[in-house]
Each structure stands twice: as structure tokens, then as C-alpha cells.
Amino acid sequence: MLVITCPFCGPRSEREFAHGGAVSSARPDPARVGDAAWVDHLTVVSNPLGPVHERWWHARGCGAWLTIWRDTRTHDIVGGPDVR
């Protein structure tokens, strides 16, 4: 179980959070990119064997959205949290 440090509530169990997916690249302007780049933006997520940048929502707490860097091999939180 992860212990995620909410900037407002302190260290809390993962059970209080909802997972919000990996942080994707900035949304390109669909009118300015080709189909391939647009489809990549829609479907391809970073899937590293190592730290992944991901969103969590403190749904059963203060309701804040935050991001952390979590190592997918160990579940160690190696960066964050950052509040947008």
C-alpha cells in the first residue's frame, strides 16, 4: 500500500486516493498535428520500467489533485507530490 503525502492533509493511505492515470504529454492542437501524432497523443502513454509520473485524486480526503513520481518496479514514491 502506498503512503501518499498530501500537501494539505499529510501522509495518507492510498485507500483515500483515486488513481488518475499517467500524466500525458501536453494536448496538441488537433488542427495543427497530423493524424499519427494525434492518435499517439490519444492512445500512447508512457510505460516506463522505472519512475512514472502519475495523477492521484484525494477523493476521500480534501479533494486535491496531485502528481507523484512512482517507481513501477518497487512502488517507491521518488518525486512529488506536486499540486497543479
Partner: protein, 466 residues
């Protein structure tokens, strides 16, 4: 009692299994020969014709000689410099692909490479559930084919799969789920898969241990769906059976040969792989490595719409026959079946977020157990013996990807969430794609092109994926 009869039968099988299980591992997989001479060729030809049959007669004959005469189930040949096809991953899909390449297309100059031991990845980390109750027109015929192939696999491979076609019962606790399953039933009817609605009384008659979920429960049992095609079998037998049959047809299986990177030639096409035992060349390379698919394809700069996640399961101590169907409780979020040894094999939801860590998270475990106890309160006395996790990749639309890629000669079979049931047809169709260059009709909709055209095959919800 059906299960009592089954237990008696399987005691015989267990003995049979024990008799040759010691012999199936190659004596020295690290053994390395650099020379390649005619003796090797002759030996391999001899092996094809001499694949020892497993039967009651050979069992009796070997019993007389104290089980000292069993031959090896597959060879440990020297690693060559070049093959026609390299399959990365000696799991269910990789071994099945190699077998059908040899059987159906006569392509036998094939190497199956694995970093660990064969059958040690997700084929050893699942809940052996074989079923075809899917949602989409593209998916159902494929899984119907795979279930049918499983039913004939024992005979086809001359290896006892311990196939037990025992029916799956979905225990439905919300009207939304009931409507969704009724809809699936209507689609499945078109393609020859079977789904049938039953009443709460019938659910409880078929699963006597289901004593929770009464009228006063938070989620009362509303009814059920019966999928009579569903089965379980023995996962090791699937891996070993395919390995032995592929080897007998000339395919080479190289264990402890981890692929570190894919290699492209000067024109950008695939030309081989870099392994821990050196470079191996081939014009066609198939990636069948589940959760590590993107790790490998990124070595040639290929990004795929896949995420790797951890799915866990656990097993109770063995108890007397209690439940003779596969029980699936989608609203509560768990499913289980009783193995022939008597253990309850229990699975739940995946961990939140991507993960390559093959273990179980305590709260996922607790959630699954508490959900199970709400419907099966008598299970609270069960002791749990083992848990495991497997990392599997899931595509953007929760359907598998079997496809050529933008790198010429590089093929992927990936995104198999619940891929155990898909092994026979998955191997058959990938062999077709590798041999002919065209997708098999059953998998034509599952190429990478579907993402380019936004032709998603949404199967979210028909597995434990969420």
C-alpha cells in the same frame, strides 16, 4: 457427486504427472555448443520421429523399469547464429505460436527465447479460466475458437491438460450488470457461445456455499448467468505440452536466454536480437512477452498503446469438493474456482496504476477477501496459502494487439488481459500472420491499424480490467 468422481480420476493423473515431471526440465540449459554438425541434425530428426508417446501403456512400461527410462520432454540444443523466426517469450503464446508455425506452415527453423524458464511467466501466474463470454462481434468468434481448441488440446499434443469443462456462473447483484450480461448473451448467441440467465434460486442451487447476498444485504443476489463453455485446466501442462510438441517438430527452445534489445539493419528492418548469450539473427521476430512488450519495442524506438499493470491472485488450503463451477461475482469484484487439489483459486481487481512489481498489495488483497466473505461467509475459516502477481499489458481499448509493426519484420502479440484462454487460437493466428504476412481472419480487426483509424474494440468490463 460429479466432483468426487473427478477427484478420483485426477489422483491417477497426478501420479502420472509426478512420474515424468522430474524429467521435463533440460539437464543443463546453460550448456553451450558452438559447433553445428551433422550429428545434431540427425539427432533432431531422430527426435521428431521418436517423440515418446504418453499413454497408459508407456506409463505401465516405465513403471516396470522404475521410471528410469523416460526420455527428455524436449532438447537443449546449441544456440545457432541464425533462424528463420525468433519468438521472444517461451510462455503460452510464444510456445503455441512456434508449434503452429511448425505444424501448419512447416516453418521449423524457429527459436523460442526466454530469459527465465519456459512456462514461468504469466502462464504460471493466472487463474486458468477458459471462457468465451465477450462483448464485441470481433472478439467472440476468436474466443469461441480458442475454447474449442483447448477442448481438443490433450489429444492434439498428447499431453494431459486435465481439461475440466465445468461451467461458469456469474452471480449478478446489480440491475446494470444484469442488463449488460443480457446484452452480451444476445451477441454471443450469434457466434455460438452460450450464455443463459438463471434465477436466484437456481444460482443458490448450483452454488450451495453461496449463503450471503440475501434480500437484506447491501447488494442482494438478483440472479445469474450460466456460461456452459467455461473450463479450467492445468497451466503447466499447456506450457509443457506445447514445448514438447514444438520441440518434436524441430523448434528450438532456449531458456535462460534473455533478450536485451532488438536489432535493426541499415535499412531499418529487424535483423535479430541481442541476448545474454550473444547476438542471434532472424528476418522475423515476434514479441510475446506480455508486460515487458513496450520495454523491448522501445529498444528500436517503437511506442505502443500499452500500459503494464499488476493483477494478483491467491490460493487457499485444499478442502473437500465444495464448488464445482467457476464462480464470478463482477459486482463484488472477485472470482474463484476450486482446483482439482481442492484449493480455492481466487482473483480480484488489478492494482491502481502501472506496475512491474509482481506481488500483491495488502489493501487489494483485503478488498477481495472482504468481498468474497460477504457472499461466502463460510470461507472465513479458510487458510490462504499462496499469493502471486503477474504483470500484464493492456491496450487503450482493453483488447489484444496482434500485428505487424512499423519496423519491418517485427511482430507483436500483446495486450492479452486474460490471455490464458487465448493461447491456442492466439498461437494459431500469430503463426498465420508470421508465415503469410497477412492477419488471420479471426484477428484481422486486432492490428495496430485500429488505433490509427480509431476503430477501437472496447472490451473494458469483460475482464477484470478497469
Amino acid at each position: 457427486m460429479i466432483l468426487t468422481e473427478k477427484s478420483a480420476t485426477f489422483r491417477g493423473h497426478a501420479l502420472f504427472f509426478h512420474a515424468h515431471a522430474r524429467r521435463v526440465f533440460p539437464s543443463n540449459p546453460q550448456e553451450s555448443h558452438t559447433d553445428f554438425d551433422l550429428t545434431d541434425v540427425l539427432l533432431s530428426v531422430k527426435n521428431i520421429t521418436d517423440m515418446q508417446k504418453y499413454s497408459i501403456i508407456t506409463l505401465a512400461r516405465n513403471a516396470l523399469t522404475g521410471h528410469k527410462e523416460w526420455g527428455q520432454a524436449w532438447r537443449s540444443p546449441p544456440l545457432k547464429d541464425r533462424y528463420d523466426v525468433i519468438v521472444i517469450g517461451a510462455g503460452g503464446h510464444g510456445l503455441a505460436t512456434a508449434y503452429y508455425l511448425a505444424r501448419d506452415f512447416g516453418i521449423t527453423n524457429v527459436a523460442v527465447l526466454d530469459g527465465g524458464w519456459l512456462g514461468g511467466g504469466n502462464i504460471a501466474r493466472n487463474t486458468v479460466t477458459i471462457r468465451s463470454n465477450y462483448m464485441r462481434d470481433e472478439s467472440i468468434p476468436f474466443y469461441v475458437k480458442s475454447v474449442a481448441m483447448y477442448e481438443g488440446l490433450t489429444k492434439d499434443l498428447n499431453f494431459n491438460m486435465m481439461h475440466s469443462k465445468r461451467t461458469m456462473v456469474d452471480v449478478v447483484q446489480t440491475y446494470a450488470k444484469m442488463r449488460e450480461l443480457r446484452r452480451r448473451q444476445l451477441v454471443m448467441d450469434i457466434y455460438g457461445s452460450t450464455y443463459e440467465q438463471i434465477s436466484t434460486d437456481e444460482v443458490r442451487r448450483r452454488i450451495p456455499a453461496l449463503t450471503g447476498g440475501g434480500p437484506d444485504a447491501r447488494l442482494p443476489v438478483l440472479g445469474g448467468m450460466v456460461h456452459t463453455d467455461a473450463a479450467v485446466n492445468r497451466h503447466d501442462a499447456v506450457a509443457w505440452g506445447y514445448a514438447r510438441a514444438a520441440d518434436a517438430r524441430g523448434v528450438e527452445i532456449h531458456q535462460q536466454t534473455a533478450v536485451k534489445a532488438l536489432i535493426r539493419d541499415a535499412w531499418g528492418a529487424i535483423c535479430g536480437v541481442e541476448t545474454t548469450r550473444g547476438r542471434v539473427h532472424a528476418g522475423k521476430v515476434a514479441v510475446a512477452v506480455s508486460g515487458h512488450t513496450t520495454t523491448l519495442t522501445e529498444t528500436v524506438g517503437l511506442k505502443l498503446p500499452l500500459r503494464t499493470m499488476n493483477l494478483t491472485a491467491f490460493v487457499s488450503e485444499p478442502v473437500k469438493p465444495l464448488v464445482d463451477v467457476i464462480v464470478n461475482c463482477p459486482d463484488s469484484g472477485f472470482y474463484f474456482s476450486q482446483s482439482d487439489k481442492g484449493e480455492m483459486v481466487i482473483g480480484g481487481a488489478p492494482d491502481a496504476g502501472q506496475s512491474f512489481r509482481r506481488d500483491i498489495k495488502q489493501h487489494v488483497f483485503e478488498d477481495t477477501v472482504s468481498a468474497m466473505l460477504s457472499l461466502f461467509p463460510s470461507f472465513k475459516k479458510l487458510k490462504l496459502m499462496r499469493q502471486w502477481g503477474g504483470h500484464l499489458d493492456i491496450a487503450h481499448d482493453a483488447s489484444p494487439i496482434m500485428s505487424q509493426t512499423d519496423v519491418e519484420g517485427l511482430f507483436v502479440t500483446a495486450g492479452w488481459w486474460g490471455g490464458y484462454k487465448a493461447i491456442p487460437a492466439g498461437g494459431l493466428t500469430l503463426a498465420h500472420l508470421l508465415a503469410t504476412g497477412n492477419p488471420h481472419p479471426l484477428m484481422a480487426a486486432f492490428t495496430l491499424n485500429r488505433f490509427r483509424h480509431l476503430d477501437y474494440i472496447m472490451e473494458t468490463g469483460t475482464t477484470t480490467a478497469r
